[in-house]
Symmetry: C2
Subunit: 154 residues, 2 copies
DNA sequence: ACTGAAAGTTAAGATGT
DNA sequence: ACATCTTAACTTTCAGT
């Protein structure tokens, strides 16, 4: 982390807001010329601070307005079962995110579907097909209050 | 949604994987020349399918390895209290995401901090400072199993 | 809607301080 | 670590099919 000076941090803050900013625009905002900006970006990419550049799409326009969080607890906690569950989850396209959690609940899943009926089908024909699931608890997002895409860089 | 043909969908799938693909590369992959690709991208931006372009950073390298999910229930459910809570949450930099949920739990928060001590400070000096919080339940991410950045486009 | 080509910008690299 | 300069590549626009 302390391979980053203030200029690097400003650069990262700008790029995680708008990856289309040109080297020229970045240079102007940071009070430098093109080449140091160019070299810093390449360095930040090389060190892995910048992992990739992506286009952020609108999930509602893409026809997936329903977001659900699904808490899953395993019946048995043998490594083989856990591994199998993780394998299967990775294959399910409805699962946007999956975390192994501390506490009573083993896994937290973030699910995107087109409708409540779609969620029903997901649980019935995909999720519950995975063996060794004990408890399963779903809650739905009514409203997205906040969703930061970037991180706070200190 | 059905303003999109197969070419648009392929374009969106490619751009949400790698926003740095050039028009030339996209054209080659989609079997077209530069100008239709260029115009389609501008159209998809204009219609709002593409919301923005961002650099994806590494939260561990940025010194924020701890992710927690925090379930919050309100004591009273007057509109004024809810509005106030949402306002305050938006100001907290540790809160990456916040959703108003259906069910017993009112809000689900995704929190990023640098340490467990940082989480303690967040709860003690920031979150619990907000009035009208009834129940508060935190769980920590042990391992990220899956985290799709893009959506599945049908 | 797509092709092809022209003009304007930017990225990428080399050289020097 | 940064400034300047060069050219190769890309973006953007437009006439034509």
């Amino acid at each position: 982390m302390e391979q980053l000076d203030e200029t690097d941090k400003k650069l990262l803050r700008l790029l995680q807001e708008d990856a289309k900013l040109t080297t020229k625009e970045l240079a102007a905002q940071l009070g430098l010329t093109l080449s140091p900006i160019y070299e810093r970006i390449k360095r930040l990419e090389g060190l892995g601070f910048i992992k990739q550049y992506v286009a952020v799409l609108d999930k509602n326009l893409l026809g997936q307005p329903i977001t659900a969080f699904c808490q899953v607890s395993m019946r048995y906690h043998d490594k083989a079962f856990i591994d199998k569950f993780e394998e299967e989850i990775k294959k399910l396209e409805e699962v946007q995110e999956c975390y192994h959690m501390a506490g009573q609940v083993d896994f937290l899943l973030k699910i995107h579907v087109s409708s409540l009926d779609g969620y029903h089908n997901f649980v019935k024909y995909k999720l519950s097909e995975i063996e060794n699931i004990g408890v399963l608890n779903s809650t739905f997002v009514l409203k997205e209050i906040k969703h930061n895409l970037g991180y706070v860089i200190h």
